[in-house]
């Protein structure tokens, strides 16, 4: 047995020399080189968050333009074509370029800190998922800015999206861009799964995982299995358009409904993928401000997983109006109703946590707790459409638009803004301004409800969605004006949030390691955390490592100041999947240019496909292949191969 193959890690206490050794090993190189080669999950996470918020702002501006158009009847600000471009791009932006990446950003930043590790399982893959996200976002927006944005709605029904009805490059940008973006989501999901399974602190058994980890882990498993459905659908659409295949057109045996199946097999699990991690944020953040552990940890964790399992069996409720057989619809209607149960469990757990706790009203608490209300409204309006006759009445009306905004804004944006108030001090070392925070919250909350609560009525009165204007005298005028006013109030609230962030970055009150007196591991390290996160690998003995004294946890206590030093290389600990026993020492990759180069190669490849230029495709493929070979080349420092033989 050679020394290099096995080792007993040294245990010890944190010290200044130890930390400086670690810093040298872990710190990203400075300057432009470090910018393109970093694999630090914290830098990648913040990039994700900033990029996603920029897309949120873009999508928001798009919606405001539409709301001006719809403020009164017979609006003339936009042509029908411009309106199509805008509502489709708005949907694409919010759903694909904001709602999911923002959660990936938080998870990227927080996971290793929550798990007591020094980085994600595959740091280079993490960098790749960001670069691909950025490149595909730019690709999709290049389409929009050149007048070739998506224009058939975000779910892009055929045959409208086929070339015969939509001859421009719009759908080709959208189709290829979505396949491109799918790569990012997929590799990100794979990384989260392996990270959660293999790089937890010793002692952090599955029953001690923060709920946010459960949420993102569940979402990642779903993404891994359903992203191929939508990538395939968009690829086949592109084939139909460019190579004359017959998948979705209605000639030569093509099946337009196949598009809807593939899209919604992806689409409905995806809805849960963009809310479960945000629900996890509430499950972890809300109890901190209630000064007690979450009520019903196990039921909440189990219902997170149950929601996803059931979530695979509800896609047809998007297709009730397409004339499917009654047996099929009954089954999917049933599952769509049953799925309310796990969601309700989470709601009651949050309510009980507030009820039994001693709430401290902070801005973060307001965002987290208001989400419960918005979730119930959005949940009930969704549950209504699980009933087939109700769905037939409401489908394609503004009622559905109101529902999906309660879901996406209520269960994604509100928790996310709350999460920024909660974790911003960890990321930057400074607290956000609480006074401005109250203005921020109440403006957003009032604006949002003003905009979208009346919209349910607009839908019940029969106003169809996706129309660029409407005639007067149908009872929709006042409601639409109110919605427009509400949307501007909501936008003002978001603006206050941005102002708060920019202001607090410079003059915010210094936070210290644990400003909220919170229980989980990320609060045990300094704010912002050092490049290596934890000087020693912590050992976890309960769900609330930093609250053990006050909770009177029996038996052994968690340890964050003594543990494995792992300072002889860029190393962290691998643990067993179920019980998190120490299992192996992981050699972590240093800064690498491979992810960036692979993303560039892939981007060139997709541009080549769009323009159907064989040469460009070949160049892109060659760059990508070389980058991949360089990436996968077995390296001695990662113990992937033996020393070179003579």
């Amino acid at each position: 047995m050679r020394e290099a193959d096995y080792r007993t890690p040294h245990f010890g206490a944190d010290s200044v020399e130890h930390r400086s050794r670690l810093l040298e090993l872990w710190e990203t190189s400075p300057g432009i080189k470090g910018f393109f080669t970093t694999v630090d999950h914290k830098m990648i996470g913040i990039r994700y968050i900033v990029t996603a918020f920029i897309f949120l702002a873009l999508g928001g501006v798009e919606s405001l333009i539409m709301r001006v158009q719809l403020a009164g009847p017979n609006g003339t600000l936009l042509t029908p074509e411009q309106y199509n471009d805008l509502f489709s791009t708005h949907g694409m932006t919010m759903i694909f370029l904001y709602a999911s990446p923002i959660l990936s950003g938080f998870s990227n930043y927080l996971w290793p800190l929550l798990l007591g590790s020094r980085d994600m399982a595959f740091p280079r893959l993490n960098a790749l998922s960001y670069w691909i996200y950025l490149a595909s976002g730019l690709f999709l927006y290049a389409g929009f800015l050149t007048g070739n944005g998506p224009n058939d709605g975000w779910f892009n029904y055929v045959p409208y999206a086929e070339r015969a009805y939509n001859p421009g490059l719009n759908q080709d940008f959208y189709a290829l861009g979505m396949v491109f973006l799918g790569i990012s989501t997929t590799v990100g999901a794979a990384n989260f799964i392996v990270t959660a399974m293999r790089t937890r602190a010793p002692g952090m058994s599955l029953s001690r995982l923060p709920i946010m980890i459960w949420g993102t882990l569940t979402a990642s498993v779903a993404n891994l299995l359903v992203i191929p459905a939508v990538s395939l659908a968009f690829f086949l659409l592109w084939m139909d358009r460019q190579y004359g295949t017959h998948f979705f057109d209605n000639t030569e045996g093509g099946q337009p409904l196949l598009w809807q199946h593939l899209f919604w097999i992806f689409g409905h699990p995806w809805v849960y993928a963009i809310v479960l991690p945000a629900m996890g944020m509430v499950s972890d953040g809300l109890p901190v401000f209630c000064r007690r552990p979450l009520v019903g940890y196990a039921p909440v964790a189990i219902s997170t997983v149950a929601t996803m399992v059931l979530g695979f069996g509800v896609w047809v409720h998007h297709m009730f109006a397409t004339g499917l057989p009654a047996v099929s619809m009954s089954f999917f209607s049933g599952i769509s109703i049953v799925i309310v149960v796990p969601s309700a469990i989470a709601v009651f757990a949050w309510l009980a946590t507030i009820w039994l706790g001693r709430p401290v009203i902070t801005t973060a608490f307001l965002f987290f707790s208001s989400m419960i209300l918005l979730f119930v409204i959005g949940g009930v309006s969704g549950f209504m459409t699980a009933s087939i006759p109700v769905d037939w009445q409401l489908t394609d009306t503004y009622f559905v638009v109101a529902h999906l905004h309660y879901v996406l804004i209520g269960i994604n944006v509100f928790p996310v803004i709350g999460a920024v108030y909660f974790w911003f001090p960890k990321m930057t070392g400074r607290l956000l301004d609480e006074r401005l925070g109250r203005w921020n919250f109440w403006t957003m909350f009032i604006g949002f409800n003003l905009a979208f609560l009346p919209m349910h009525v607009t839908g019940l009165l029969g106003m169809p969605r996706r129309v660029y204007t409407y005639g007067p005298g149908m009872g929709w005028d006042t409601l639409n004006l109110v919605t427009t006013i509400g949307s501007f109030v909501l936008a003002l609230g978001v603006l206050l949030f941005i102002i708060n962030v920019l202001k607090s970055l410079r003059v915010g009150v210094p936070a210290g390691a644990n400003p909220w007196d919170a229980p989980t591991l990320e609060w045990a390290v300094s704010s912002p955390p050092p490049a290596y996160n934890f000087a020693v690998i912590p050992t976890v003995a309960s769900r609330h490592p930093l609250w053990e004294a006050r909770l009177g946890t029996r038996g052994a206590r968690s340890s964050v100041d003594q543990g494995m030093l792992l300072d002889t290389g860029k190393e962290t600990l691998g643990t067993s999947a179920l019980n998190a026993h120490p299992d192996m020492v992981l050699e972590m990759p240093k800064d690498s240019s491979a992810p960036f180069l692979l993303a560039v190669g892939t981007a060139v490849l997709f541009v080549g496909l769009l323009l159907r230029q064989g040469v460009t495709v070949s160049i892109g493929t060659a760059i990508a292949a070389l980058a991949l070979l360089f990436w996968l080349w077995p390296r001695q420092e990662l113990r992937e191969r033996e020393a070179a033989h003579g």
Binding site: A4, D5, Y6, R7, T8, P9, F11, A121, F122, L125, T186, A189, A190, V194, G203, L224, V226, P228, A229, L232, L236, M239, Y243, T245, H246, F247, E252, G253, G254, Q255, L258, H261, L262, I265, A541, A556, R557, S558, S559, D561, Q562, G563, M564, H581, P582, M584, V585, L586, E587, A625, L629, L632, P634, L638, R639, E640, R641, E642, A644, H645
Partner: protein, 203 residues
């Protein structure tokens, strides 16, 4: 903390030893997502067949003259890849190189015969939804074969450079596992497109 718990000192492997490492989990997730992709391709076949009803399959009795031997060649290639992996594990470099080389050749033969098979088809990509599905599904598989062949080339080269040992060989087990996956997926594609019509599905 006096009573702080602390994981007991243990001797731990440093980096991946054999299959034991994060790379195996990484390949596992890759295979899961790729398997899902082929699942959706086959779902599209069965869905479109079921909706179109009788007569949709353009060849009610798909000729097996090339496809069946080719399937066997691909499976044999998996066996030789496995042999190559065992050469590495038993420190028999000649065996390893031979295994990878034969796997590579057999894989390439499969690829070539598959192109002949394509050319022999009486229909083209755009003939009908059946032909579109046939060419795109087998095309997806061909793309995976091509990637698998590149992986086998890399494994051959790295073995030639004597990179691996019975302890350090995760690249080998991961690459060979991927190749097995490419072969197993073919069995599903083959059963769907070449065998199910004989059972009367869609014909």
């Amino acid at each position: 903390m006096a009573d702080a718990t602390r994981s007991a000192p243990l001797q731990l492997p440093v980096g991946p030893i054999g299959r034991h490492g994060l790379g195996s989990w990484g390949v596992g997730t890759l295979i899961a997502t790729e398997a899902a992709l082929f699942g959706y391709l086959l779902f599209s076949y069965f869905y479109t067949a079921a909706v179109n009803g009788k007569g949709w399959v353009l060849e009610p009795t798909p000729p097996l003259k090339l496809a069946l031997p080719n399937t066997i060649i691909l499976l044999l290639s998996s066996v030789f890849a496995w042999m190559g992996e065992h050469g590495v594990l038993q420190r028999k470099r000649a065996l390893a190189l031979t295994g990878f080389a034969i796997a590579l050749v057999f894989g390439a033969i499969f690829f070539a015969i598959q192109i002949l098979e394509w050319q022999a088809k009486p229909y083209q990509l755009g003939t009908s939804s059946y032909s579109s599905l046939y060419f795109v599904t087998t095309g997806f598989h061909m793309a995976h074969v091509a990637i698998g062949l590149l992986i086998l080339v890399a494994l051959f080269g790295w073995t030639l450079l004597d990179y691996f040992s019975p302890r350090r060989n995760l690249s080998v087990s991961a690459g060979v596992l991927y190749w097995h996956f490419v072969d197993v997926v073919w069995l599903f594609v083959f059963a769907t497109y070449y065998l199910s019509p004989y059972l009367g599905f869609g014909t």
